[in-house]
């Protein structure tokens, strides 16, 4: 493991009103790896991802305990700029979420909010982001077409490109392939594997197989608790916990 983890979660608890959805969870996420956080529905993976870029702030009546450190700095400290944090820690959602505007404008959305207005600079950002998400060749002829007009898989890669346009350090992917066909899924997994060269990825896979295909490390969660964590190969070959084994082998879930 790297000396300092990219993200360190320390004794995190998270509550929606009185219901506790994350229980005393500690986890270190090394840089330039794909960590898959998996578990059955309602095990808290989505919530965990959302606490990492403070999108959980928008939930009314939620509160939390513990700390989350990004490069050693508490992201919930008072002097932290939430917008800057979210620029660094991007998010790809469960369903493709293009905004109702052109492909170009979707990618340029984030950079524009940061004040980049020059057409040339934006053009470069858009092309670079689309190339990194392996989408450029498919859409370069129709950048001004509606983002709603491309296929679901393309839309999801567009969403990845949109995050990449902000040059993030971490990307959170919440079941990014649910509802996509196997070919689209394979393309997204391929781009994730390429992306980890330059950034850190936290993935909530939509099934165990996906975790096995792309993850360097895996973390198994159940009912808001972290059950087991480690290199993917080790956990899948020799799960230490009976519940992990049961879940991986398909005995439940």
């Amino acid at each position: 493991m790297t000396p300092q983890a990219k993200i360190a979660v320390k004794k995190l608890s998270f509550y929606y009103k009185k219901e506790q959805v994350i229980r005393d969870l500690s986890l270190e996420i090394p840089a330039n790896e794909i960590l898959a956080v998996f578990g059955p529905a309602n095990s808290g993976t989505t919530t965990l991802l959302r606490t990492l870029n403070r999108l959980s702030d928008t939930i009314r009546g939620a509160h939390m305990g513990g700390e989350i450190l990004l490069d050693g700095k508490d992201i919930y400290a008072l002097d932290v700029s939430v917008t800057e944090l979210r620029r660094k820690v991007g998010m790809v959602f469960e369903v493709p979420t293009p905004l109702p505007m052109s492909i170009y404008d979707n990618i340029a959305y984030g950079p524009r909010m940061r004040g980049i207005k020059r057409k040339k600079a934006l053009d470069q950002v858009v092309e670079k982001a689309l190339r990194m998400a392996v989408l450029w060749d498919e859409v370069k002829e129709r950048l001004n077409a509606s983002a709603m007009s491309i296929s679901g898989g393309q839309q999801q890669r567009l969403c990845i490109a949109r995050v990449l346009a902000l040059e993030p350090e971490v990307i959170l992917c919440d079941r990014p392939c649910s509802g996509l066909d196997p070919v689209s899924t394979a393309k997204i997994e391929e781009s994730l594997r390429e992306l980890k060269e330059r950034l850190t990825i936290v993935l909530a896979p939509h099934n165990v197989q996906q975790a096995g295909r792309v993850a360097d490390r895996v973390a198994f969660m159940l009912m808001g608790s972290l059950i087991e964590e480690g290199p993917a190969a080790d956990v899948f070959a020799n799960p230490k916990d009976k519940r992990t084994e049961d879940y991986i082998t398909g005995r439940f879930g």
Partner: protein, 296 residues
């Protein structure tokens, strides 16, 4: 559909006496009823419009729209009421649209559902149900007399602004609420501030709905009589400032018909009123579509 046509037989072998309608028959009846309702409404609407236009359009000529009324409106044109209508409506919209849309954004984006929002919404709903003559009386007492604005375009515009505010608030609120929550999350997750999220992700999607609310407001302003006659007066001169009294087309129409001055001219005014509202709708739609098309 042979299944539907077989006679129903009970388990004891007898045919049930009271036959209930099957699903297909119910469907056919429902369809016919809904069709009839729609056709009836459209027929009535077109009958009214056709009647007014057929009586009014023969009155329309260049003189009618380019000259001020003379002899109480028996002859001359209706230039000053046209100007009065546009001026009073413009004042009302300039005040009510920003306030109403702003309130709607406050209610939807800046507060959580709670006591205050419920009070504001209840207030707006109650205001929407008040007869316009009551607004007229309020405007007369408050703007005309207390604020010493006199019978004027400002008094009329302010009164109408108060009157249409609830409509604009409610329609805008609905429009903003229908914007998918995920758009906001996407914008925030891309490092947007709340304000950036509203202006860049929410407004473009909500704009057609907001515009509908504002257009409804314009329509009510243009058509309003009672509230305007008490606050803007019924002067026939061309107004020279927004503090001058004026007469709107609806008021002009009302006076012409009510006092038996000239039914022909009244129909002419009504026809022009309908055409004006139609034009406003068309122009507003084109503007909104152009804005929306830029995004899609």
């Amino acid at each position: 559909m042979s299944v539907n046509n077989t006679r129903m037989v009970s388990f004891d072998g007898t045919t049930p006496k009271a036959r209930r309608l099957n699903a297909r028959q119910t469907q056919a009846i429902a369809k016919a009823t809904i069709w009839a309702a729609a056709v009836l409404v459209i027929l009535i609407l077109f009958a009214i419009i056709f009647y007014i236009l057929s009586k009014g359009i023969p009155e329309l000529d260049w003189e009618f729209v380019s000259e001020i009324p003379s002899d109480m409106g028996r002859s001359g044109g209706i230039l000053s009421p046209i100007i009065g209508t546009l001026a009073v409506t413009a004042v009302a919209i300039v005040i009510a649209a920003p306030l109403g849309v702003g309130t709607a954004f406050y209610l939807t984006e800046y507060t959580y559902e709670g006591g205050i929002t419920r009070i504001i919404r209840f207030g707006a709903e109650s205001l929407a149900g008040i007869p316009s003559i009551v607004y007229g009386l309020f405007g007369f007492i408050f703007f005309v007399i207390y604020l010493k604005l006199g019978w004027s375009i400002v008094s009329g515009g302010l009164t109408l602004a108060v009157m249409i505010l609830p409509t604009i608030i409610r329609t805008s609120e609905e429009a903003i609420r229908t914007v998918p929550q995920i758009y906001r999350e996407v914008s925030l997750s891309l490092g947007g501030t709340r304000w950036q999220t509203i202006t860049r992700a929410v407004v473009p999607s909500a704009l057609p709905g907001i515009a509908t609310g504002v257009i409804l407001g314009i329509g009510r302003c243009v058509a309003e009589t009672a509230a305007v006659i008490l606050t803007a007066g019924s002067a026939l001169r061309i107004p020279t400032s927004i503090f001058a009294p004026t007469r709107t087309m609806a008021v002009h129409f009302y006076i012409l018909a009510r006092e038996g001055i000239s039914m022909e001219r009244a129909y002419g005014t009504a026809a022009l009123l309908i055409i004006l509202i139609l034009l406003i709708n068309i122009v507003a739609n084109i503007l909104v579509n152009r804005f929306v098309a830029r995004g899609r």
